[in-house]
Amino acid sequence: MLSKYLNKILYSMKKITTIALLVIATLARSQTTGMSCQYFPGLQLGVVKVKTTDAPKGSYAFAAPLPILLFDKIKGHWYTNIDLSALYFAATQTNKANDDRVKISKAEGALIAGRLGWMFGKKPDFKFGINGNFGLQTSNLDSLKKSFSQRNYFNYGLGVLVYKKMGKLHASAKFGYEIYAKKNFITKGRGFYLEGTVGYNVFQKYGISVSPCFYSKGLTYAPEGGSINAPAKARVTSLLIRFGLTRFF
């Protein structure tokens, strides 16, 4: 009887030890490597396409806003991302917003959004991880001129990422799935993103990075001045390439 209990206890202890070892191995401090893409501000080139069933608006495309305000940092086991690109772009348009110099508002993406993730792997030159996303975003679904008049919605999501260091070259790739929602505006919203980053260490700890990105959002929403009971559907796709200063670890 006693040996039965002892066996059980020993078996439980083995399990606990194995799990503890696994956790310790995962959380063990690897040599701190990574890159901090500090697009503060950075530049981007690309195109944003809006295809909507809201008849008067139809389909339209515009060049992606040039300035961005974005941090994307992988350091040690942590992954953090703060994006204020659409908000910053809207602010940069203040001087132009009242006259005919603005054909269409180009604000697309995060007003304020963030990602937080954890990266696994003991090797300093290769890591992979998962992240959670949350924030406030905007899309020009109403074909407006003024960025600050655009409506906004929340995003929630999950993502995976991978990082690789090859001498002076650092690379990362990210994929994520997001849900978009806002009462009386977005009834259903789903989307995904693909981001790749290649950074090159130029001088001391600093260099530049290039980041090609693809975003796709499918939104069911109440058209401007319309009812939530007669929703329209929109597909917003963005194909971008970003450039910015980067710090390497």
Binding site: Q38, F40, P41, P67, L69, Y88, A91, T92, Q93, T94, N95, A97, N98, D99, F203, Q204, K205, Y206, L245, R247
Partner: protein, 336 residues
């Protein structure tokens, strides 16, 4: 009554800070102010300038500072507005906010001295809903640290443009084609003759200046390992400066109304101004840099009948914030 007592209690205790000091043992990890990077380039995505000329302007900027060897400092600062208040009121009469300056400093005092600097071991706040108490524990008497102190004479050039709101300018000194503003503000100059609608009473200003002053720089890089507390630091790279500004050229932009250009003048200009400022970064690590500046720009003298000989139209306060990259560039001074 209870509500008021709670409110007063909250206000009083919000500011209550309990300071605890204690003796601890520590070992030096770093204490060398010469372990620094002598060049920094900062990209400021956002600055805000609150001023008398047009209320406010915000935009982006670039800054650089370089310490060349033991004797020379160099500074550069450029800001341009993307949100200039009142700028959109006219396509012809207003100017966008722009400021660019660059200068050199000659170091005449350059010494490292040992000073006791404060080290905070812990700081915590607790609240019971009505009262908040902050408890700070620090090393009694501070920790001796090598502090590098630099004093320099500095000078340089500055170019500034902005939108100018005529409101609050002395209406007896401001003239339009020789006519006093108090007389012209309600006549045809500010009325569209076709629509009979009012024209916004805003213009533009440009200042071309030289400045000269004194600059104080402090650098310290103290990192200690405190028994039972871990690593604690007091790291600083900060500059404080005071300048006198002389503007030989004060250009008030002519006003265009109904297709005609009106000559705008201010009868009592002051060619002198002043400013004080402060900017801070880390000696070695990359991070974020802040610059705060305030003062009185050259421009408009106050009317003689005012009690305070200070024209609020010239006053300003500017705050800029950005990411900087520090680099070690030759020539670099790292002690004799």
């Amino acid at each position: 009554m209870k509500k008021y007592i709670y409110f007063i209690l909250t206000l009083v205790t919000l500011q209550v800070t309990l300071l605890k000091s204690q003796s601890v043992s520590y070992t030096y990890v770093r204490n060398n102010p010469y372990n620094y990077k002598n060049f920094s380039l900062s990209i400021d995505p956002l600055f805000i300038d609150v001023n008398g000329h047009n209320g406010y302007a915000y935009g982006w900027g670039l800054r650089a500072e370089h310490m060349l060897g033991k004797r020379l400092l160099a500074n550069f600062d450029m800001r341009t507005g993307f949100g200039t208040n009142l700028y959109r009121k006219s396509n012809k009469n207003t100017r966008n906010y722009f400021n660019m300056e660059g200068g050199l400093g000659l170091i005449f005092f350059n010494k490292v001295r040992e000073r006791n600097v404060p080290i905070i071991l812990s700081s915590s706040s607790s609240s019971n809903g009505r009262t908040t108490t902050t408890t700070t524990t620090k090393i009694r008497g501070g920790v001796p640290a090598k502090c590098w102190f630099i004093v320099a004479l500095r000078g340089g050039f500055q170019q500034y443009t902005n939108t100018l709101d005529y409101k609050n300018l002395a209406d007896t000194l401001l003239t339009f084609n020789g006519q006093k503003y108090k007389d012209s503000k309600n006549d045809f100059t500010f009325k569209d003759t076709l629509t009979n609608k009012a024209i916004d009473q805003v213009g533009g200003i440009a200042l071309t200046s030289v400045y000269g002053g004194i600059q104080f720089r402090r650098i310290r890089d103290l990192l200690i390992d405190v028994d039972g507390w871990g690593y604690r630091s007091n790291i600083k790279y900060s500059d404080f400066y005071i300048d006198v500004i002389f503007a030989p050229v004060i250009g008030i932009k002519n006003f265009t109304s109904n297709g005609k250009e009106v000559d705008v003048k201010y009868e009592k200009v002051s060619h002198f101004g002043w400013r004080a400022g402060w900017f801070i970064r880390q000696p070695k690590e990359q991070g974020f840099s802040v610059k705060l500046e305030f003062g009185s720009r050259p421009g408009f003298k106050a009317p003689t009948n005012t009690n305070v000989p200070l024209n609020m139209k010239n006053m300003y306060c500017m705050l800029t914030y950005g990411l900087y990259i520090p680099l070690k560039l030759k020539p670099i001074y790292q002690g004799d």
